[in-house]
Assembly symmetry: C2
Homo-oligomer: 114 residues x 2
DNA sequence: GTAACCAGTTACATAAATGTAAGTAGTTAC
DNA sequence: GTAACTACTTACATTTATGTAACTGGTTAC
């Protein structure tokens, strides 16, 4: 009777900040949207597709891996390639990702219309 | 036939980044969740409730106001008070906010269980 | 052995976000 | 006139995020 319906305050703040802590910054949700909605990518593909420089991309992917949202797999190809894919847990973020995609599209439409 | 279903790439990135541009940072979604789910607050109330210092809170509220997500109203009380409330447009962010609240709660449960 | 491709890494620089502490200005109560 | 309350504002310091450019180490093709 305090954890379940204390929506007046702290519970909500903490929940939002817990989420932000995991998907903070300019890039994490972009990366996740590619992997969740588009499937597996290699390092170079992700970098070119998203426009994220290697340095940042490495860091972001590591952080996502730590939080079990991304899986890294080294492939035994001639020049070694590395495949990144979203985990089942990352799929639980789809709701957030898709809501943001919808809102962003609608917002751009709104701005243009003004 | 390019704007409607080009979900493979850029459209999605842009949409997410457009949203992030408006609700970036540690605090904007926290503030919005208070106002959207909890109703009107005064400046001091918001500061105490959220733990945001006056300097930051002023800046965040101004940015939210510029994006028409928050309405500022000066009240003719003895010590002048200022009321902040969410706009109808902010309500369209409820989907995003609530998805993040749900995910954050679930995530904390998951982390504790490990 | 030289060039090219992969997946990073390193060093460096800058920009943006956030925080702390103290001060301002107007009003009211004592 | 002093203290207290409101809503900020200012100056300053620090932390965090992001970017750029060049370099490493391994493999393959010529």
């Amino acid at each position: 009777m305090k954890d379940q319906q204390d929506d007046g305050c702290e519970n909500v703040h903490a929940a939002i900040q817990d989420t932000l802590y995991v998907v903070n910054g300019k890039w994490k949700l972009v990366i996740l949207s590619i992997l969740v909605n588009g499937g597996t990518r290699r390092f170079g593909e992700l970098s070119r597709e998203s426009g994220i420089s290697p340095r940042i991309l490495t860091k972001e992917l590591q952080e996502l891996e730590i939080n079990q949202l991304v899986k890294r797999q080294v492939c035994n190809t001639k020049p070694v390639t590395v495949e990144y894919s979203s985990t089942p847990y990352a799929e639980t973020l789809k709701e957030v990702i898709d809501a943001m995609i919808r809102w962003g599209r609608n917002h751009k439409r709104k701005i243009r219309g003004q």
